[in-house]
Structures are given as structure tokens and as C-alpha cells.
């Protein structure tokens, strides 16, 4: 298992080296996917490698000349990497526009990285609008056409179906991994799980699935560990963000056990399936519309609180650690409502705001106090 983990860690930590080598070996092109919600299957079917653009665990420097400090560290951070030539493996970027910051980031990227191919999909915020499905369908078809123009090759229905199947296999494997984790969370560190998921957002899905299947086999064969005196928690939020490993470790070092999650580099990536037996574009549109509740999407029929309450119940968690990217507007707007409703449902919630200054001692104090509170509630 350690050998596999080393591989995942390396891919995530040294994405640049990994992808540069991959490009040399395959001669293929790489398309950056701006977090979140780019329908990667279409890019995959075009014969390109879709790679999620993360912000790295380091201070933002060059981007400050172009963006104010009151822009979230994800958008400032990944743009910073582009200015530091750390994303040179990219041939282009596909943006969505589900939030204001992402929406506006595309123009700033274009002006400052003119060598790249760009495409922006207009992803509706309103999930219940009369023409939302048609509008989104048109956007996905438009992406398909833009990629066809870019590569000079048609994307056949057959290729799309194949890509969907490859992605779906990967999602199902991740579901299996999470099932193992739920049953015996002591076996995994939250940090390791995030690394496994993140590696799959960088490397080709085919390769990731092969490694993932091995990991599941090896982890399943391990003897269940004895639970220590720990409390089970869920981490939620962290939209667009890859939570810092130091912070994930800190959560668990204070005596909590992360038994499941509701984060972007986690369950949010694979929970909602894409139907294999439908017209491919239609299937992708439905996946977007039926995806997990998200503060960025307006959908009164799919609220976040009931989803969280249910997840807590299913996983027998005792509390939620909510990771909020500072300046993530939609998420920040939901916090009073979330706190009120979850508290009313008897679920303690701790809100931790994150930025590029990393895991601080103040966070440790609050996490530890939260764990101590959960333990005293339980005993």
C-alpha cells in the first residue's frame, strides 16, 4: 500500500514533472480544467488529457500584481502558478462560470497567458429554470465543437460513450474506497484519501483506475484496526480547493477521525454518476443538474442541510468540520443558515476559514476544542 501511496503523492506533489514526462512519452496535449464542473469526458473524448488546475500549498506572490488580496486563494493561487511558469505543461484551459470569481478569472488568465487555448462554458446557476437543461446542452455541444476545431478531429458519439464509461469506472472505484473508509476509518488518514482522489484529477483516469483497484484490494485485506478514543467527523466544503495536507493532519491529530467527506477533492467528485446508457451529452447535462447540493447552485429541491444531516446519520459522525475558502462568496453567504439549521438538528459544526497562509495554531486550538467538546458530549 505504501508503494501505491508514494506514487499518488508524487503525482500530486510534483505534477509538473509527472505531466511533462507524460507529454514527452505520449506526444499528447493537456487541457487544464478550471475547478469545478468542467465535463472532462468531452475533453477526454477529444484525445486530450483533462487535468484539474489546483492552487498549491504555497504563498501567492506574482498574482498580487493582477488580483486584489480579497480574491480567494484558489483563484489567486492557480493564476500565480501560471505566472511562475509552473503550469507550462498546459496547452489550454476550459473555464466554467458557476461563481463570480471563476467567471471573471477567465479574462484575466487570457490577457496574461495569451499562448493558451481558452474556452468558457456558461454553467447556469439556476438548476430549476425552464430552459436550464437546453441551455446547458448547448454549452456542452459548444465545448465539443470548440475542441473539434482545436484538434481538427471529430468527437464521435462512440468516443464520448467510451470516455463516460472510463470515468464512470473510476467513480465507482472511488465509491468502493470510501465504503472501506466508512467501515473502518482508522485504516486511512484523511490526507492520504485526498491524495488518492487528487492524483486521479491529474493522471489519466485509465492509469488511476488500475492503481486504485490495487489500493482497494490491499486496503481491504488489512486487518481492521482497533478504534482508539476518537470521535468521528465529516469534513465538508473546501470548494475548488485541495485542502492543505497539514490542515487535514491537524484535524486528525486533535483526536478526530474523518470518516467521510463532502469536499471537492473527495466525494463531490464522484458521488453523482453519469449514466452509461443515455445519449452522452444528455447524460453529462443530467449529471451536472443532479449533482450534490452546492451553495453556488440555486435549487430549492436539493438543499444542502438535509443532505448533510443524512450524511452524518449514515456515517455515524458526531460533528462536521466545515472548511471555507476565505472570500468564497456563495459558501460564506450560506454559513449562518447552515450553522442555524445544523445546530437545530443537533449536529455540532466547526467553521474553519482557509487561505494561503496555511494551517495556523489558532486553527489547531479551535479544532482541538471542537474535538474535546464532541468527546465530552459523547461521554
Amino acid at each position: 500500500m505504501n508503494e501505491l501511496m508514494d506514487k499518488f503523492n508524487w503525482v500530486v506533489k510534483d505534477t509538473n514533472a509527472y505531466l511533462t514526462r507524460w507529454k514527452k512519452q505520449t506526444g499528447k496535449k493537456i487541457m487544464g480544467c478550471y475547478p469545478m464542473y468542467v465535463p472532462e469526458e468531452i475533453i477526454h473524448a477529444a484525445g486530450l488529457l483533462p487535468v484539474t488546475i489546483f492552487a498549491k500549498d504555497e504563498p501567492v506572490t506574482l498574482a498580487d500584481q493582477h488580483m486584489h488580496r480579497y480574491v480567494c486563494h484558489v483563484v489567486r493561487g492557480n493564476f500565480d502558478l501560471s505566472l511562475k511558469n509552473r503550469l507550462d505543461y498546459l496547452d489550454g484551459v476550459v473555464f466554467t462560470d458557476f461563481c463570480l470569481t471563476v467567471r471573471m478569472a477567465s479574462s484575466v488568465w487570457m490577457v496574461n497567458n495569451p499562448q493558451l487555448f481558452y474556452h468558457q462554458i456558461f454553467t447556469p446557476q439556476n438548476m430549476v429554470g425552464d430552459q436550464t437543461p437546453q441551455s446547458l446542452t448547448r454549452q456542452f455541444v459548444r465545448l465539443k465543437k470548440a475542441l473539434e476545431d482545436y484538434t481538427g478531429q471529430e468527437i464521435t458519439q462512440d468516443a464520448l460513450s467510451k470516455s463516460i464509461a472510463i470515468y464512470q469506472e473510476n467513480r465507482e472505484l472511488l465509491c468502493q474506497l470510501y465504503k472501506l473508509r466508512q467501515a473502518n476509518p482508522e485504516r486511512f488518514r484523511a490526507r492520504d484519501i485526498a491524495m488518492v482522489v487528487a492524483a486521479g484529477m491529474v493522471m489519466p483516469k485509465e492509469e488511476h483506475s488500475t492503481l486504485l483497484a490495487q489500493l482497494i484490494e490491499q486496503a481491504g485485506a488489512l486487518a481492521p484496526q482497533q478504534a482508539e478514543d476518537k470521535v468521528r467527523v465529516i469534513i465538508s466544503g473546501a470548494f475548488c480547493d485541495f485542502p492543505q495536507p497539514g490542515l487535514l493532519n491537524m484535524i486528525e491529530d486533535t483526536g478526530a477521525l474523518v470518516c467521510d467527506d463532502d469536499i471537492f477533492v473527495g466525494r463531490r467528485l464522484f458521488n453523482t454518476p453519469t449514466a452509461r446508457d443515455k445519449e452522452p451529452i444528455q447524460a453529462l447535462v443530467e449529471r451536472y443538474l443532479n449533482d450534490l447540493p452546492d451553495p453556488n447552485k440555486h435549487n430549492p429541491d436539493n438543499e444542502w442541510v438535509p443532505y448533510l444531516v443524512n450524511l452524518v446519520k449514515e456515517t455515524k459522525a458526531q460533528g462536521i468540520v466545515m472548511l471555507v475558502v476565505k472570500y468564497c462568496e456563495a459558501h460564506q453567504f450560506d454559513l449562518p443558515y447552515l450553522s442555524k439549521e445544523l445546530t437545530a438538528a443537533g449536529i455540532p459544526i466547526l467553521i474553519i476559514e482557509t487561505n494561503d497562509s496555511g494551517a495556523t495554531e489558532q486553527m489547531r486550538t479551535r479544532l482541538q476544542a471542537f474535538t474535546e467538546m464532541l468527546i465530552s458530549r459523547r461521554d
Binding site: 471573471m104 477567465s106 479574462s107 474556452h119 430552459q131 441551455s135 440555486h298
Partner: protein, 418 residues
Amino acid sequence: MQQIRSIQEMDIKLGERFQKVFTETWEHKKAGGLVCWSTSGGYNEFLRELGIRVVIPEVYGMVLSSTGMSPELCRNTDIYGYSPDLCSIIRSFSGFALSDPPMDPSTLPFGGFPKPDVLFCADYCPGLVKMWQEFARVFDIPMYVMEHPWVPDAVSADPEEMGNKVQECMTEFAGAISFFENFSGQKLAEDQLQKIANNMKEASVLWHDILAMNQNIPAPLSFFDVANQFAVFQFYKGTDECVQYYKELKAFVEDRVANTVTSIPEKYRVFWFGLPIGYRMAQHIEKFTRIQVQPVMSQWACYFGNPNMETNDPIRGIVQYHNLSTLQFRGVEWKRDYILKLIEDYKVDGIILEISRTCQVINFDQKDIAETLVKKTGLPMVSFEADLCDERLYSDEQFNNAVDSLVEMMERRGPGRL
């Protein structure tokens, strides 16, 4: 020489219009009429014809800012758990709208406004959708969200996609009309919408004519004088009254041009890139008068009205008005070119960059745009941080330092353009 009327006269008129809106809305509500809270991004002009009175809390947020009430109301939302990073206009009016127990409206400017029966939100600023969701939960009333696509540079350059966007927006708008027809149980006559569109076009042309008069040297009004006057658009857009108001305003400004009257002695002309600061407007005017610097224009004033809208199809026209005119919803290159033209047309000597901390719509791409403006025009520029409503994010000291050093820079350069 005839007596030139003071700008205060128009401000008083504006105040009367404001008072009238709020008084009428209360009376309407008390008589059992329906009230809708909606957004300044529009599409709500037709509601009046269905017997629904519209309140635009954002505009009221600006009023709260100008009257100095915002900090107290923002503090309320701090207590409810809203981060001070969030838009302070939204926090200002929500500090009142969500107050529990409810605040006494008579303690508020213009007597406040009544609770809504229905909500209508155009999604040009996602923060508004979030707060409208909370209103829908708190008041337990229906809400209609209308997609409002942005136009980044790639789309500005793609007429086909642009056409598709307009078409989609028209379908969305038609959907909104039928939603509110059902809600109110009334039907909107076709000629009513046509009349609204015609009035919107006429008022837009008037507004942009008024702004263009500031190209005169000296400018008849400072940008701050102009800034207040946009408000009539927000409450009366599409009505005869709105057209009438801007006709009067235009005549008033023409009078000043004819008599070369200005409101601030004009040694230097500057461009204000950002938003006006309501809670310091008086102090800023006082400062600029003292140092003889006239802010003649801002990109902000151009957000309102679209003189190029078509009126043969009112639905298309109204969509064009809201969606295509709106400078703030465009990409970096489009905005930059637009502002460059403003700077040329209005013949300025310097640029003041106001950075509104909690408004990403305005501040996000400001740095790149400002950098190009300086590069291309060679004009001196200074910046200061502030915020629309939350005074706690603003420092007089920083503002004064910035403006004083701009004057020094302009002096070194000499009043080249005058």
C-alpha cells in the same frame, strides 16, 4: 444673465421622487397590494403593470450608506454570522431586512419599505441570489431566479454566441413574465411592454446625453453630482415619469453648459475608476473643491441605460438594455477599451482608482485594466481602498494621501489638457 439653478435643486427633486416611491409602496401594501423585492439588474419593470410594486434593496443600501446607517446595519449581519468579507450593500439592507425583532421603519431613511410577497432576482451578481434565497426561507414566499449571462471577451468577439445568449435571455425573460402573470392573476398587454421599452430607450438616450455634456471644459457637473441622479432609473425605469425626469435634468445641465457654470473649480480633471463613496460624498466634494480637482466621469455612471437598444421587439430590447449595455459584465479587454475611450473623450489629467473591497464585480479585474490605462495614456494614477457601505474598511487618511499625491503628480506634469 439668468439665474443659474443650483444642483441642490435637482437633489431636492430626487429626494422627493425617492420619498414618493417609498410612501406609495407602503400605501400600496396597506391597501392589500403585492410587493416584490427585486434586483437593480432589472427585468422587473413590467411588474408595475401587473399591480406589483417593486423595491430594489440594493439602491436602498446606497441610501443607507449615504445616511451613515450602514455600519450599524452591517454590524447586525456580523452578529447573524455573515462574514465582513461579503458585499456591504447586501449586508447593509439585510441588517435591516433580517432584523429580529423587526426594526421600526420610521427610524430608517424615507421610512423604509414593507416586507415582500414575492422575490425576483436576476443572477448577475451571485451574492444577491444567495441573500434572496435566505429571504425566501425567512419570509416563506416564492422566488423567481432569472439567469443573466455575462459577456466575457471571447463572447464579445463571437456574434453567433452573442445572438444565442440574447435569444436565451429572451426566453428566460418571457418565462419571468408568465411566472408573475400567474402569481398576480393578471395579464400583461403587449402594448404595455412596448411602452416600457420605448421609455427605457428614451431615458437611456437622455442619460447618456447628460453624461456626455461633462466632456465640456469646464464640466457642468462633477461626477458626484451625477452619481446621485442615476437612482431615478432604478425605481422609475420604463415609466413616463422617468423620461420626464431626465428631460428636466438634461435641460438643467444644458443651461449650465450654456453659461459655463461648474460645480467644482476645475484646475484638473480626473477620472474616477471605481464606485462613489456614499458615506464620504460630502467630504470628498469639499476636498475636491478645495484643491480644484473635478472628477468628471466614472465608468460607474455608464452602467445605466443602453441608448443602442432596439425597440421593435420589446422583449429583445429590454434584454439588450440589461444584458448588453452593462459594462461591468464584460471581459477585461472590452472594459479596458471602453474606459480608454471615456478617458479620451472626457479629457482628464489623472485617474483615481477606488478599490471597493467587498465588490468583486468591480474590483476583480481592476488591476490589469488600470495598468493598461496608465501605460496607454501616460496619465498619473493613485489608488485607495474603500468599500461601498462598510465604513470600517475605509480610512480618510489613506484617501487624502492618495489624492494629495495625485495633485503633486499632475502639477509636475502641468495642466496639459486644459
